[in-house]
Amino acid sequence: MNLTLHLVGSDLRYLRHYLGLWLGLVILQAVLVGYAPQLSPVSTVERAHAFSLSSFAWLVAVLKICLLSVIVAQLVQKDSTIGSTAFWLSRPISRARLLLGKVLFLVAAIILPWLLVEVGLLFLTGVTPHDTLRSVPQVVFLTLLAVATLMMLAAVTTSLARMIFAGGVAMLGLPLLWLFVWSAWSLFRFGTGTFARDDIRVALPVPPPIFDPVYVGIALVLLVTAVAVAGHQYLTRKTTGSRVMLLAGVCLVLLSMGRWDGVLGTTSPGLDKEIPDPAQVEVRIEEESLLFGTSRDPMVLLGLDRDKKMLLKGSIVPSPLPPDVAVVPAQISARLVLPSGNPLADHVSRSNYAFNSSGRSGPLHLNGDSAAVLRQALRGTTLLSNDGPAGPHRSELFALGKDLHDRHRGIGMVYSAQVDFLVLRNAISLLRLEKGARYRRGSNRVEIVSVDTSGRFLGHLIVHLDEFSHRLMQDGRRQITYLLINRSRRQALAGWDRGDSLTVPPLMSSFFPMLQVRRLRLRFSPPRSGPSIGPDWYDGAELIRVDTRDLGWFSKSVRLEDLVMERIAQSSPKPAGADG
């Protein structure tokens, strides 16, 4: 062990200047996040070309990764395991000891300081000790992932330039190739008609144990690959074998994409006690809401699929639901059956809101599911967005080829579907609309920095606020929306937010969220249509914060007897806030 520590000490001396710089960047990044509100005056978010702290934080994050690459490359390649000229090869240093020395160095000089600074940052930004402790495994996991991946690349190359090239090929080139192959394959696969229902497995990524199983799955495979390749290279010095392992690992990552939902994400329904018991919930399709629209399928638009699709849309209404709970039809697996009893077609539709992290829109143009969730949160209050009052939400019930539609439009058919509902909980908090008003719940806090009422006679109001939010990938998906509510008029107005946001970890926060510090500028404007919003509306208004969290899912069956397609209106409806 003494000799191992001796090797670590020698590496520390060798890399001391780089390590100083590294620590400086880690601390700078923490300072940027921790003191973001003080460093970012209200005026910076007003000006279009203002200095952006978030851009600077990104730059620091990129520099940090670059510097980490240099440090790991220097550390590993100065005692190279490739070739036969390294100094250590003729010295009484075993391969295992050399590997242990490098690992100890990385733990002591990179991972531990990184962890300490991040934990300190969380603590200083008001995250509770409990949440701070919960963050430790995630910080360690991500740090380990970055360090192990770089170590793997450094171990199988002989210089920083080659390491970057190998990294580029492995991390960018192969995924691009995979994307190309996948696109070409899907062009042929999805080019025809409908899906058979049995092909699609119900695998909803809720409720959590893990934020998004795809990212965690990919990260885990990458981490295991990195550890295996670096370990293999150090212990055997068989570089060709290690490179083959690296390629195999990257291919495994690519092949495993999209396969993690079923492994990590699918959980039994009803884990949360607030998830409704399906037996107690009635689900119906409002027949008067049914509507046929034409599909904006890119394959059709590109002319790759000549069979134009007709989309059957309608409102699915479950009731009763517990208070504070909202549901979104996440996946509809449907079938149309002819009077003869033979199926005409099957179709599966998935909600963007439920399945994609990016599917949750901002409040300016609330998409269908977002608006539906907020409307369920507000219960009885009209939701006004920029386009006007949000109308009833219609889900995509079925998609049918135009030709098939035309041939069977006059026949009475049976529509049956299994609907998998995503269950969400809305937590609503109220803030007085005045400077200094604060909200705090656990590790999350908000403070109104200023309320600009100068434009309220024209119907505009601007609110600046600072927001510290803490969440971890295992907490599941969460969305925070700010609205102005006038309780006496039973109206809520969605705002348009713009702001400077600093997130930790900076480059991976969309996959592995931890801490978000935002200086938000919320701009509320009267809708283009609908009720008028004036100074008196704002006088009675309060700011509400809707914190929407995924809880889980439940499934129900729905059925429509004697569905005659020609009786359904055909249009391309675009009421405000409807139809996502």
């Binding site: 000799l3 036969s84 100094f87 003729s90 240093i93």
Partner: protein
């Protein structure tokens, strides 16, 4: 003979190139073994296989009684290795290099280290990267000899050393090996460098062993011969296999006898050359033997 290094049909192939072919060799304990061969003969490849730096394609090697593939810290602590190809820790000063190496060896000898520093005139506080090539070799030697290794392997150690330093180094090495009973394997393409040093010689060419034997026996069996034939006499159609690089100029025939026996005198030569008028037989230097061998193998190709 107690061999400290042993190879058995050691073979290494790089793609289509056969770098070392079926090399079987023994280096006796306590010897100074000159491992000779022209550039590209395969000396460095053999040494790297001995040191487990590269794996043999086939065959095996043993160092200090251990299979070279299992050479571990315990064996490496008993081996001093200096090579012109070895990377040095150039970011260190000599003092830092000493401090780095010392804890690895329980046999580290501070007195010997100081003596070598004096002998090599190495500045302790200068970074190695600022050194000339010769100085770097000296620093490498310092870090490889200060722990009194039982086996010293030197791969082209004299590259970059000027004649004076080389001379001093050879003297120092001889002194040390004599005093400490070290076994030294010196690989070189230049016989001049090791002539005074070696008591055993091995010659390798194109990856194959040409000979390996004690210097004394080699010098005893090689003789430079100059025979003058009687006028009108022709050379026999076939000459003995043991005659190397035979040349004729008029009635004078010059060759190297590689199986000369002191006790038999000139008898075998005289019987092979009827009509011999005069014969001069001279002992040969190691360099002359090496050159004769090199010319022979090239001639036979």
């Amino acid at each position: 003979m107690n061999a400290i290094i042993e190879t058995h049909e050691l073979t290494r192939r790089f793609g289509k190139t056969m770098a070392v072919h079926n090399l079987s060799l023994q280096v006796p304990e306590g010897s100074v073994f000159a491992f000779l061969g022209p550039n590209g003969a395969g000396k460095t490849t053999v040494i790297k296989m001995l040191m487990n730096m590269i794996r043999p394609t086939s065959g095996s090697a043993r160092m200090l009684g251990t299979d070279s593939l299992r050479l571990g810290p315990a064996e490496l602590a008993r081996i001093g290795y200096v090579s012109e190809n070895q990377q040095m820790l150039e970011w260190m000063t000599v003092q830092q290099l000493i401090d780095f190496c010392r804890p690895m060896y329980s046999t580290w000898d501070p007195d010997l280290c100081r003596q070598l520093i004096r002998q090599f005139e190495l500045p302790l506080n200068r970074k190695i990267k600022t050194f000339s090539r010769g100085m770097k070799v000296k620093a490498s030697l310092l870090s490889s000899l200060s722990y009194r290794p039982e086996l010293v392997i030197l791969d082209e150690p004299f590259t970059g050393l000027d004649a004076l330093v080389r001379d001093e180094f050879i003297r120092g090495l001889l002194e040390l090996s004599g005093r400490s009973q070290w076994t030294i394997l010196v690989a070189s393409h230049d016989i001049d460098e090791v002539e005074r040093l070696a008591d055993w010689v091995g010659v390798i060419d194109k990856g194959e062993k040409r000979l390996a034997e004690p210097t004394a026996s080699l010098q005893a069996r090689f003789r430079q011969c100059e025979a003058t034939l009687e006028p009108g006499r022709e050379l026999p159609e076939t000459l003995p296999d043991s005659w190397l690089v035979a040349e004729r100029a008029g009635q004078v025939v010059r060759f190297v006898e590689s199986r000369y026996r002191e006790d038999a005198g000139d008898q075998s030569i005289r019987s092979a050359l009827p009509g011999l008028k005069d014969l001069a037989v001279r002992p040969m230097s190691l360099k002359a033997i090496f050159l004769a061998l090199a010319r022979t193998y090239r001639l036979y190709e």
